[in-house]
Every structure is written in structure tokens, then in C-alpha cells.
């Protein structure tokens, strides 16, 4: 393992961990918010440097390869923008007294710790480490969701905790099985848990055991992805936690969980004798899309509404990877990136809206484009983006998924489109009700930080109109990797 002036991967972990430790003891929450932003910015720069620095060999516990690098950058980026948003958000929360400085100390520390967990999960070169870090991140969010201490919040985080701890167990069993499957060919010890070596020996792993392992992994991590019927924690966690956390949940944690599933799928793809994960993924994805689509109609809470929309999109991505043709894989990866950008952007808007209206009940929100033009049009733009309207990038990914899949699985694609249409209708129904009409409720303007949202939406628009060749190249070879 040859040496470089400095190893960004390590620092990527050190910075959030250290700042988490530091913030845990910092009393002044204003300063804490600033430091939080600063730390996120630093890790963002580091993640960018990953692209520049020539890539190291996979280490014993950490590695950087084609698949995770973009998620690392995305992770750091969204983490950064969200920290910007959260700085403004918590200020308002403190002013109205929903959060106390003591809680904020906890909040900021946990925020960094969460980022640490997710970064570790992405960097991990060891399925054990992956498991541990994903669970860490999950439990952190469990604590964050309950931060408001309201009955709803506690109930939501309790539900989250119970479901995810069972999922943790399943994921661990899957991990163990994978180890056992690999042990004979790869050899005992950490070697048999290392992605790099697992992939090189993928073809020789014990097929039936690997299939069994995949089932458990799918259920374990699938719970965190929010696949139907394991989704139950997701909407409440989104609805009851602080909005920055909802943004991070939808934007990053779901991606991280999905990333782990994809890793294991790649492992299966490398082995000709295992059961093919495609049909299972297609079925679960389809079920998820259809279910979430219909759940959108009866929603009364704006954040829960978009929580369900996240579920729907996770379904879409799973579906795409299930289809498994190169175009669909490409589209799936693209969709992951764009969804996390768009959805977190939407949550920025939603956070401000619920603060401006003093409520996150859809019924209390009306005529935003008139009372708060930026928020209203922003919400509208985000919604149009998330339902795959041009000029936003998600249009591209859905275009590719559908058009590439139709000739091979016509009926499945028809069902899929049905789900998309129903979801579309439900979302537009609710959002146009909020954005238009005669304004009701509070109408005095509030202090908004437009920058994070604008960056996100701009990035999404660019993706729809013009994908840089570097990105395309990366996505394509990763799609090849996925097969």
C-alpha cells in the first residue's frame, strides 16, 4: 500500500468525529452552528480532493472505489448545504423555544456523528464495519428524531428504534452468512469480510449460502431503505424530527442503506449460480412504488407527504437496479444522486414553510405563491423536479428506466408507470393546493436562507439539460460494474 502526502480518506473520518466530540462540549449554540458548517465544509473539500488525488489501494478497513466515491462527495455536499440550512432553521426554533441550547449541543454533536457514521459506511471495505457504521448512523438518527420530546416525536423514534433494531439483527445474520459463504474460498479472518477480496473471489463463493445471506441483508438494510412492507418507520421519522434531519434522512441515510444493498447485489452478480436478485428487487420496488403512490392521497402532514414520496423514489431506484440492464443501472445511480439533491432541497423549503405557517398540517397551508413567493415557487419547482418534469434531471433517469425496460418487461413497466402516475397525481393535488389559492393563516415573511435550495435545484436542472462527461463516464463504468 503505497503512500501519499496525506490520506484524505482518513481525514474524512477524523474531522466529523473530532468535531462531534468538540461540539458535544461547546455551550454557545450560535458558535456551534458555525463550527458545524465549517466542519461540513472541510469534509466537503476533502471529499472533492478524493477526486483529485490518485486513488489508494483498498486498505484493510477503508477503501475508495468507483461506486462509493460519488456518494462520498454527494454525502459531504448535502451534509454541507444541510448544515447551512440548519443554522438558519435552529435559530428560528430557538426563538420560538422549541429547542433549548442544551438540546442544541446534543443536536450538533449528533449531526457530526451521523455524518461520521455514514461516511464510514461508504468508505468501509469490510462488511462488518459497514454493518456497524450503518447501525451507528441509524441509532444516531433515532435519537435525533426524538429530540423534540413531544409525544409524537417519542412515539416515532420508538417505532424507528424497534423496527431498526430487528433489522440490525437480520443484517448482522446476513453478514455472518456472507462470511461463512466466503470462508472456505477466501480463507478465515478479516480477509473473508473484505469487499475487495470478496469481489475478486465472487465467482467461487458458496452459492446457496450467499443467496440466503442476500435475503437477510435485503431485509436488514431494506428496512432502512424503506422498502414496502418494511417502510413503517420512515414517514413518522421524517415527520416528527427536525427538518434538517428529515433532509439528511431522505437525502443521505436512505442512499447509504441502498448503497449497501447494491454492494451485496454486485457480489451476487459476480456469481453465476446464486438466485438472481433481479426479480425480487423488481417486485419489492414495484410494490413500494404502488403502495407509496396510494398513500400520498390521504396525507395531512406535509413532511409525512414527502416522506412517502421518498419511499416511492426508493422503490423506483430498487426497481431500476432490479431491471439490471446497463441503461437502467445508469438511471438508478443517477436517480439516487438526483433524488437526494432534490428531496433534501424540498425539505429545506418545507422546513421554512412549516416555520412560516407555524404548522406542518397541509390544511393550514394555502396560497404560498402569494404570501411567500420564494417558498411557494420553490416548493412547486421542487415538486415538479421530484415528479420527473423537465427541465429537471429526474426526468432523464425516469426516461431511461422506462424506455429501456419496456420492450423486455412490458406489463411490469406499465404497472410501474401506473404507480408513477398515481403518485404524480397525489403529489400535485396536495402541493398545488398549498402553493395556490387564497392565502390563509400567517402571512408575515420569515428569514429564509435561499442558497442551499438554489444550489440543489440548479444542480438538478443542469443534470436534466447537460450531464458533464466525467459524471457520465463514471456512471457508465459503475453501471457496467453492477451489470
Amino acid at each position: 500500500m503505497n503512500h501519499f502526502p496525506f490520506d484524505p480518506t482518513l481525514w474524512l473520518l477524523v474531522i466529523p468525529a473530532a468535531s462531534a466530540l468538540f461540539l458535544a462540549f461547546l455551550r454557545d449554540w450560535r458558535l456551534a452552528a458555525r463550527i458545524n458548517v465549517l466542519a461540513c465544509f472541510l469534509s466537503f473539500c476533502l471529499s472533492l480532493s478524493l477526486l483529485a488525488v490518485p486513488r489508494a489501494e483498498p486498505g484493510r478497513y477503508l477503501m475508495v472505489d468507483d461506486l462509493n466515491i460519488v456518494f462520498l462527495v454527494l454525502n459531504a455536499f448535502v451534509g454541507f448545504t444541510t448544515s447551512l440550512f440548519s443554522a438558519g432553521y435552529i435559530q428560528h426554533e430557538v426563538e420560538i423555544g422549541r429547542l433549548t441550547p442544551r438540546l442544541l449541543r446534543f443536536y450538533h454533536a449528533m449531526y457530526q456523528f451521523l455524518l461520521f457514521g455514514m461516511t464510514l459506511a461508504l468508505l468501509a471495505n469490510n462488511i462488518g464495519v459497514l454493518w456497524a457504521s450503518v447501525e451507528t448512523a441509524t441509532l444516531t438518527t433515532v435519537l435525533m428524531v426524538g429530540i423534540y420530546r413531544t409525544a409524537e416525536a417519542i412515539e416515532a423514534s420508538w417505532k424507528y428504534m424497534m423496527l431498526s433494531s430487528v433489522a440490525i439483527a437480520l443484517a448482522l445474520f446476513g453478514t455472518t452468512l456472507t462470511y461463512v459463504a466466503a470462508r472456505q474460498t477466501v480463507g478465515e479472518g478479516a480477509e473473508a469480510m473484505r469487499w475487495s477480496s470478496l469481489f475478486t473471489h465472487a465467482a467461487t463463493l458458496d452459492p446457496p449460502l450467499l443467496s440466503l445471506a442476500f435475503l437477510f441483508v435485503l431485509l436488514g438494510y431494506g428496512t432502512k431503505v424503506g422498502l414496502f412492507p418494511l417502510h413503517a418507520w420512515l414517514p413518522d421519522a421524517h415527520a416528527e424530527g427536525p427538518t434538517p434531519i428529515s433532509a439528511v434522512l431522505s437525502g443521505l441515510l436512505l442512499n447509504v442503506a441502498l448503497y449497501s444493498v447494491i454492494r451485496f447485489k454486485m457480489l451476487l452478480a459476480g456469481n453465476p449460480h446464486v438466485l438472481s436478485p433481479g426479480p425480487i428487487l423488481i417486485t419489492m420496488g414495484l410494490a413500494t412504488v404502488l403502495f407509496a403512490a396510494f398513500m400520498l392521497y390521504r396525507r395531512r402532514d406535509i413532511k409525512r407527504l414527502f416522506g412517502y414520496s421518498s419511499i416511492e423514489h426508493m422503490g423506483i431506484i430498487t426497481f431500476a437496479f432490479g431491471l439490471g440492464n446497463p441503461l437502467a443501472n445508469f438511471a438508478g445511480l443517477l436517480h439516487m444522486a438526483l433524488h437526494s439533491l432534490t428531496k433534501s432541497g424540498i425539505f429545506f423549503m418545507v422546513g421554512h414553510i412549516s416555520q412560516a405557517k407555524g404548522s406542518q398540517k397541509i390544511a393550514d397551508i394555502r396560497g404560498l405563491t402569494e404570501s411567500h413567493p420564494f417558498l411557494g415557487w420553490g416548493l412547486l419547482a421542487g415538486t415538479l423536479a421530484i415528479i420527473g418534469m423537465p427541465p429537471f434531471g429526474i426526468f432523464l433517469s425516469e426516461f431511461l428506466i422506462v424506455s429501456s425496460g419496456f420492450s423486455r418487461h412490458p406489463w411490469i413497466i406499465l404497472l410501474f408507470l401506473l404507480g408513477l402516475l398515481v403518485a404524480f397525481s397525489g403529489l400535485v393535488l396536495r402541493v398545488s393546493g398549498m402553493a395556490f389559492g387564497k392565502p390563509t393563516g400567517r402571512q408575515e415573511p420569515i428569514h429564509v436562507i435561499p442558497l442551499p435550495f438554489l444550489i440543489h435545484i440548479l444542480a438538478v436542472v443542469t443534470a436534466g439539460i447537460f450531464l458533464p462527461h466525467a459524471v457520465v463516464g463514471w456512471f457508465r463504468q459503475t453501471a457496467q460494474l453492477l451489470r
Binding site: 425480487i280 396560497g367 420492450s407
Partner: protein
């Protein structure tokens, strides 16, 4: 070159739209935006006409490094594109000219100005696109921007509902087109249209693609039963936007259909034409019947769009039938008729919608039951609207008749078709077409008579003011074009030559100049029509008779109370209203088609309350198709909703069951 100019124009419109966002505070931005749109559309009109008339030999194509990665954005401007771009640009010119005056009445211009140019941009990209991604991208862009315009008057709940329905239908159509392109691209191996053109498709693919294209384009154009959104959405928008949507956007949908079916697909099986002919005929008749039942002027016009789309699709169906039977000259005739009607409809429908906008601005009324007598208050608007009504009623010597006449001629060559099904169906369709033409005349007697003639039915109508000169000039420009296209159909047919040539490989016989010689679609002895000389003769006769009367002995006109069989009625309320005018036709047709029911509430002698007639009309498409779907969706939503409220144990149970199920699968699989 022309393509570059056209793209430049679309880009300029794009910038204009974005710029209007920047100038939130600037007071004159409305004028600026519309003037800019006017100028840019004029340029793109010039370029497209130049391409169509003079440069039809060469088809410029451009590939930009944007759009679908590894493919790029392909743009191409063949005769078909340039024709529709010309239609679009003319729409842009006239509507923006109209809006220069009309825009002042807009309460919230900020909700319209950014989207108006963008809407035009989207449509022009649809027309210029040469690969599937750009096409669909522009298609959806068109939908979104027009949706934003539909909900621009967002305080009315009805507009929001109309917009919601519209957006869903638009996306539905977009999805079907997406599937169609998916199939095409799968067979052709690329999303580029050039590859699809050269590819050969298996017959089942062709059939499905054609079906999908019909649904997709039809839902945008307003084919029955996919039309339901149209009469709600078009009137909801500001009138110049309604004009664009009805006059131009539906044509863009027609373009999409023609592009996919006649250019990319080129099907070989005649069965598909059955569907088109049937849908076209039904749409034409039902559209006009719906229109006859309306009281709202703009909604009436919108339903009339449905009718005309039906007529256009009849022409397309004929063209398909002939083309698939290798009778290219007849196919050329039908296609020419369809395209000619497309042009005509875009002209007079824009004219009529703009006219309704002028009336709306002057009276604040859309309900014809509150208009009347406007001929005295708004003479200019009246003349233009009258010309438009004559044109859309397919009466000589205006343009509507010319294209319908050509369609009839195409129908009359159906005996050359080998298939019996087609022979019979086409005759039936011809009857439907004739019926719709007659009903259209009735409908516009109603529309014009109720709103412009008679005595004012409301104070607003009585105090209406003539519109500003911008709007009037837009109206008269369209009216003039209607007249010219009607008087010299031969020239239009010649201009359509290259388009038809590249689509069905043959053109109608070259119409001989000079312009006063009759239009001969097939052969002199078979049929011919000369609008110009008829027009001249009518004028001359009129003058001659006037002269004759003076010679016999001229007496000045006297004014006195109306005779009315000796019962001159004091109040304008006793005039015929829209409902009463439509009553005979309603009793004849609608009672069966729409299940129209009249209930008369006649007070006993001595009672003070007024007598009233209430008419209930059911929309078969809505009742039969949409209402059940909506009910089903909400039913499922309600059934699934409890999933939000389960206990943790139940959620875990679900996961557990899934696990056991998967394990069972595995144990079976091993």
C-alpha cells in the same frame, strides 16, 4: 441556417422568459415581454416560411452537446417541421400582438409573463426535435408551462382543478409517448430519429406504437374520450393563452402524431387506420354536440377545438388507409386536406379565442347568456368574429370550407380501397363529417347570435367598449389570413406539396397558377372549386342588386318598434337564450347521447316565483371512464391508509412474514 435562426429564436424566447423574472419591479415589463415575443416570433416565422417555400430541397440538421448524454440533442428542420413551426410562429405573433393590449387587463402579470415565452419555446423544440429525448423533454416542458398558465388565475378553485386534471392527462400522454419511443428505440437501437427512420419494425411493434402514439398525441390534441381536460383547461387560461393552447398546442400534438406515424413508423397494416377514422368521426360529432350545449363562450370554443381535431384525424386516418394500400395520390390528397385543415383551424381558432378575449375584457363576461348587442358596441371585434365564425362553420368562400371540401373529395375516392371494412367505415365517417359540419354552423349561429346580436342581456354588455387597437389588429390579421387561405386554396395546396411529398412520397397535382383558376384535387372532370371567382361574383351580385333596387325606386329606411307578430316584448329577458336556442337540437341529439333531461317548474297562476327550466346533461366520457377511475383510486387510497396506523408489532409481523416467504421461496429454489 434557417434552423439556426429558429433555434436562436427559441433561445431568445427562453431568455425573455427568464429575464421577465429578473424584472419583477419594472413596470413596463409586460409590454417589453410581449413586444419581444412578437419580434422574435416574426423572425422565426420568416425563417420557417423561407425553409418551407424556398429551401425545401435541403433539410438542415444540428446536434448540440446537451440533452441525452452520449447522444446529444439533435435538431432537424424538414418541410413538416417548418410548416408547423410557421403555424406556431404565427400563433406567437398574433397572440403576443393581441396581448400587447390585452395584457393590461391582467391582474397578476407575474404569473404569466415568464411562462408565455417559455411555452412557445417548448412547442418550438417539440417541432424541431430530432431525437426522442429532446422531443419528450420539450413535450413535457410545453405541458408544464401551459399548466402554469392555466392556473395563473389561481384564486378560482375551478382553475386549480382544471389544471390538475390537465397536468395528469398531459403526463399520461407523455408516458404513452415515452413507451412508444421506448419500443422504437429498442428496435432501432438508438434514440435518434434518424436511426428510427432507417429501421424496419415488426408489425406488432408498429401496431402498438401507433396505438400508443394515438393515445399520447390524442390526449394532448383532445381526441374523444381523452378530451375531457381540454374544455376545462383552455378556457381557464387568459384568452391569448387559450388561443395559443387551442390554436397551436393541439396542432403540435397533431405534429407529434404525424411525425411518429408517417415519418418514423411508416406502418404497413391498414387495420390501424380503422381506429383513427372511427375516433376521428366520433370526436368530430361529439365535440360539436358538446359545444352546442355550452353557455360559456370560451368553453364552447374549446369544445369546438375537439371537433376540428376530429376532422383533422379523419384526414390522417384516410391518409393512413390509402398509404398502407399503396394508393399514394389519394394519400397525398387526404394528408393535404388534413394539414390544410390544421392550418385553417389554427388561424380561425386563434381568431375566435382572441375575439372572446376581447369580449371578456370589454364585458367581464364569459357567459353568453349575459351578452348580446355587442355588434353595436364593438363593431371591429364583431366583423372579425363573424369572419371567424363563417370560416369555422365550413361555409364558402372562407378557408374552413376549402379544407373540409378536400376531405370530402378524399372520402369520395374510398371505392379504390380493397377492404370492405374501410369502404363502409369511410362512408359512415363521411356522414359523421357532414353532420358535424352542419352542427358547427348551428353552433356558431348560436355563438355569434347570442353574444353579438340581439339586445344586451346585462349591464356590462350594454356598456361594453371596443377593444384597443393592438387587439383589433391581431384579430384582423387572423381574419385576413382566413380570407386569403379561403380564396386561394390552390396556393396553400402547392405550399403543402413538399411536406406531403416527404411523408407519403407523392403530392397532389400541382395547382395551376394564376390564382383565379379553380382548385382541382384529382381531375377537372371529377371535381373542382374556385373560391375566388365565387367570392367576386357574390360581391358583384350584391352590388348589382343594390343598384337594381335603387333603379326600381329607392325609399329611405324608417325605424320603428319591432313587429314580432304584434307582441313586441319590453324586456331583453324575453329574447332567446343559449339554452333555448339549443333546445331543439338538444331534444333531437343530446337526449340520447348525453342523457339530457329537462325539468320545467311552472308556477301556478298567481304565484310570484319565476318559472324555470333546468337542464341536466351527463358527459358519457366522464361518467363512463373517468369517474370510475377516480373512485377506484380514492377507494384504494382509503383501503391502504390504515397501513399508516398499525401497531409496531403488526409492522414487525409484516416483515417477519416477508422473511418467511422469501425463505420458503429459497427452499423451493434450491
Amino acid at each position: 441556417m434557417t434552423l439556426v435562426i429558429a433555434l436562436g429564436c427559441s433561445a431568445a424566447l427562453l431568455l425573455l422568459g427568464i429575464a421577465s423574472l429578473a424584472m419583477r419591479s419594472f413596470s413596463g415589463r409586460s409590454t417589453l415581454v410581449y413586444a419581444g415575443t412578437f419580434a422574435v416570433s416574426l423572425i422565426s416565422l420568416a425563417s420557417s416560411l423561407a425553409q418551407l417555400l424556398f429551401l425545401s430541397g435541403v433539410t438542415p440538421a444540428v446536434t448540440l452537446p446537451v440533452g441525452l448524454p452520449w447522444l446529444g440533442a439533435h435538431f432537424r428542420m424538414d418541410a413538416l417541421s417548418s410548416l408547423f413551426l410557421a403555424i406556431l410562429s404565427w400563433g406567437g405573433v398574433s397572440t403576443s400582438l393581441f396581448a400587447l393590449g390585452y395584457g393590461r387587463h391582467e391582474p397578476e402579470p407575474g404569473r404569466i409573463l415568464p411562462f408565455f415565452p417559455l411555452f412557445l419555446t417548448g412547442m418550438s423544440w417539440v417541432i424541431l426535435a430530432d431525437d426522442a429525448y429532446v422531443f419528450l423533454f420539450a413535450w413535457e416542458l410545453m405541458s408544464v408551462t401551459s399548466w402554469a398558465l392555466v392556473v395563473s388565475h389561481h384564486r378560482e378553485e375551478a382553475n386549480l382543478q382544471a389544471g390538475h386534471l390537465y397536468l395528469i392527462m398531459a403526463v399520461f400522454g407523455g408516458f404513452t409517448l415515452l413507451l412508444a419511443f421506448g419500443l422504437l428505440a429498442n428496435s432501432a437501437g438508438s434514440y435518434a430519429f434518424s436511426a428510427m427512420r432507417s429501421a424496419a419494425f415488426p408489425s406488432w411493434t408498429a401496431g402498438i406504437v401507433l396505438l400508443l402514439a394515438t393515445i399520447g398525441a390524442g390526449s394532448k390534441a383532445g381526441l374523444f374520450p381523452l378530451h375531457v381536460w381540454l374544455p376545462q383547461a383552455h378556457p381557464a387560461a387568459p384568452s391569448h393563452v387559450s388561443a395559443l393552447m387551442s390554436g397551436v398546442m393541439t396542432k403540435v400534438a397533431v405534429y407529434g402524431f404525424v411525425r411518429i406515424v408517417f415519418d418514423l413508423l411508416r406502418p404497413h397494416s391498414w387495420e390501424s387506420s380503422l381506429l383513427l377514422l372511427f375516433l376521428g368521426g366520433v370526436t368530430a360529432v361529439l365535440g360539436v354536440l358538446y359545444a352546442l350545449m355550452q353557455h360559456d363562450l370560451k368553453r364552447l370554443l374549446a369544445y369546438h377545438t375537439v371537433e376540428n381535431i376530429g376532422i383533422i384525424f379523419i384526414g390522417l386516418g384516410l391518409a393512413l388507409a390509402f398509404a398502407t394500400n399503396q394508393i399514394p395520390w389519394a394519400a397525398a390528397l387526404s394528408l393535404t386536406a388534413a394539414l390544410f385543415h390544421t392550418i385553417n383551424h389554427s388561424l380561425f381558432k386563434s381568431l375566435l379565442f382572441l375575439g372572446s378575449g376581447a369580449v371578456l375584457a370589454a364585458t367581464g363576461e364569459r357567459d353568453m347568456g349575459k351578452m348580446g348587442g355587442l355588434i353595436h358596441r364593438m363593431p371591429g371585434t364583431t366583423i372579425a368574429f363573424l369572419l371567424g365564425s363563417v370560416a369555422i362553420s365550413a361555409l364558402p368562400p372562407l378557408n374552413g370550407f376549402a379544407s373540409e371540401w378536400l376531405t370530402f373529395q378524399a372520402i369520395l375516392v374510398s371505392p379504390n380501397l380493397p377492404q370492405w371494412a374501410l369502404k363502409f367505415l369511410i362512408v359512415a365517417v363521411g356522414a359523421l363529417l357532414a353532420l358535424s359540419a352542419a352542427l358547427a354552423a348551428a353552433c356558431f349561429v348560436k355563438a355569434f347570435g347570442m353574444s353579438f346580436l340581439g339586445r344586451p342581456r346585462s349591464l356590462h354588455a350594454a356598456e361594453a367598449k371596443e377593444t384597443d387597437r393592438w387587439s383589433l389588429s391581431a384579430l384582423f390579421l387572423n381574419a385576413l389570413l382566413c380570407l386569403l387561405a379561403g380564396l386561394f386554396p390552390g396556393s396553400v395546396v402547392n405550399a403543402l406539396g413538399p411536406v406531403v411529398q416527404e411523408l407519403v412520397g407523392q403530392t397532389m397535382p400541382q395547382q395551376s397558377q394564376p390564382f383565379w383558376t379553380p382548385m382541382v384535387p384529382i381531375a377537372q372532370h371529377r371535381s373542382s372549386y374556385d373560391a375566388f371567382l365565387l367570392f367576386i361574383l357574390i360581391v358583384l351580385t350584391g352590388l348589382a342588386v343594390t343598384g337594381l333596387v335603387r333603379w326600381i325606386g329607392f325609399r329611405p329606411i324608417r325605424r320603428s318598434a319591432a313587429w314580432d307578430c304584434g307582441y313586441p316584448d319590453p324586456s331583453p329577458v324575453t329574447q332567446y337564450t343559449t339554452a333555448s336556442f339549443a333546445q331543439p337540437i338538444r331534444r333531437v341529439y343530446a337526449s340520447s347521447v348525453f342523457g339530457a333531461r329537462e325539468t320545467v317548474d311552472m308556477p301556478l297562476p298567481g304565484e310570484a316565483r319565476p318559472a324555470r327550466v333546468t337542464v341536466k346533461i351527463h358527459d358519457p366520457a366522464w361518467q363512463g371512464l373517468y369517474a370510475p377511475i377516480i373512485k377506484l383510486v380514492w377507494f384504494l387510497a382509503d383501503r391502504l391508509n390504515p397501513m399508516q396506523f398499525l401497531t409496531i408489532r403488526r409492522y414487525l409481523l409484516l416483515g417477519f412474514l416477508l422473511l418467511v416467504f422469501l425463505l420458503l421461496l429459497l427452499s423451493l429454489w434450491i
